[in-house]
Symmetry: C2
Subunit: 309 residues, 2 copies
Amino acid sequence: MALLFASPDDDPVAWSAALRRRLPDLEVRVFPDIGDPAQIDCALVWLPPPGLLARLPNLRAIFSLGAGVDRLLEDPTLPPDVPLCRMVDPSLTASMAEFVLLHVLRYHRDLDVYEAQQRRAEWRLLLPKPPSATVVGLLGLGELGTASARLLRAHGFGVVGWSRTRKAIEGVRSFAGPAELPAFLEGLSVLVCLLPLTPETRGILNAALFARLPEGARLVNLGRGAHLVEEHLEAALDSGRLAHATLDVFAREPLPKEHPFWRHPKITVTPHVAAYCQPESAAELVVENIRRLRSGRPLLHLVDRARGY
Amino acid sequence: MALLFASPDDDPVAWSAALRRRLPDLEVRVFPDIGDPAQIDCALVWLPPPGLLARLPNLRAIFSLGAGVDRLLEDPTLPPDVPLCRMVDPSLTASMAEFVLLHVLRYHRDLDVYEAQQRRAEWRLLLPKPPSATVVGLLGLGELGTASARLLRAHGFGVVGWSRTRKAIEGVRSFAGPAELPAFLEGLSVLVCLLPLTPETRGILNAALFARLPEGARLVNLGRGAHLVEEHLEAALDSGRLAHATLDVFAREPLPKEHPFWRHPKITVTPHVAAYCQPESAAELVVENIRRLRSGRPLLHLVDRARGY
């Protein structure tokens, strides 16, 4: 039996080496060289071509290379009964928390304002403030949100979080469910979206939500493009409700050349680079799940398809 | 006796309140309302007008609101025998370390490259790397450099430092003196200047130094504008020796409107905002030094004028 590796963004050589160092007898096939599809029993994938997994008659497990599995679930041909596992890995979590900290620091220290001033050759100091005066709201308090919350707290930022169910994280006020969303949004300096994409969270970053934020708040979307209603963001930036936005994810990726976000002076675009896993670290979970698969034990970080993550 | 407060960038109301909360009988005079100059025995200053301090016949101590005192020492009318103290304060130190971390994270996560790509509407992911693969070189390992080194280490970055005398900071290789400068520069991803401005450090960021850095290194100057030879920076950016620079300090401040740095696509300009002290915290040192002055005890953080810091 063999593992199929398929990702446009991950390094197949590093992954094959990391997997085989732990499981020397594992056969790794790299898409598109899949050989006999019947010999493949598990797949390690990020953005695989739609329909690919349906062509594997003996597939027994799908391992996502990313934390979010929404794109996999959107493929109507995805085999409905094959267990699907999301990626949970220390290097993935650390890279996401690091990216969150970077953008919160950027906004806390007003780099967006200074960049705009630089375009006008304007020298003007803003009143500095201590980290405690910057309050960060995290939409999503799972693996990634919790790690981000802890790192931000360690730097002295105010942190509140919102999630489906209430969480207990020291120093972080936890809001839960749609009814508590308005209270969560009050007084935020920076709103960071780390949510999984589900029917409940699709379009959550919309005009009604922006209207609840303080004037001049900043937005960081590291979840999924479909969390954001794009026209509502442009209106909120134009009215000054939001001062700036950093977007790492988009409804269409790669973001099309002609998309206005590329040229918007109040939007920073990054090409879906917030979190990534290092094969040497992330191979641990994949290998553990392959061992569990082959010995008939339950898999780790199994996705609840009805819930969406 | 009274204290004279003179700074274009600090808040006189907050400072007066913070000082008088601790010393209720302290008279604080805010420049330009100095009243009778003979009644002033100490001055708390940042960029005071040249000649101002020379007009105070009974001045017994000068307290700098900044860590660097080079601008004060450049004033030929500065009273030569009045003790001069630099600012050492937890909020100042923390804000500098925070700014260093921000820019190291920015470069570590390639935001400069993604900003350039955004201008061309180009979607391209760079190979991500763990923090240990980014090696930061700190020029200057005093109060600010040491705090920055510790914060960067806590985030997993590689850190080396260079200073006049050798230092012992856990996990940080310390290079000392001009002879060890070339070895210090080898293999750096980001070079951060936090040096005091002295005859030995003036112009230290020059073509010979840039030539020792790896191709594509980034520069962050948070020291003083005169550390940098401006034409050499432009040549190093044009040749690709340096990939990008962030400059917070300039030979002339405010940076003149017509200066080419404002418009250089590989330079980020910030208006001397890296470090600042919160009056509520920094007033502690000033009050302690006023008490010492009035009881005849030695002042803290006295500047060695011959050394320059």
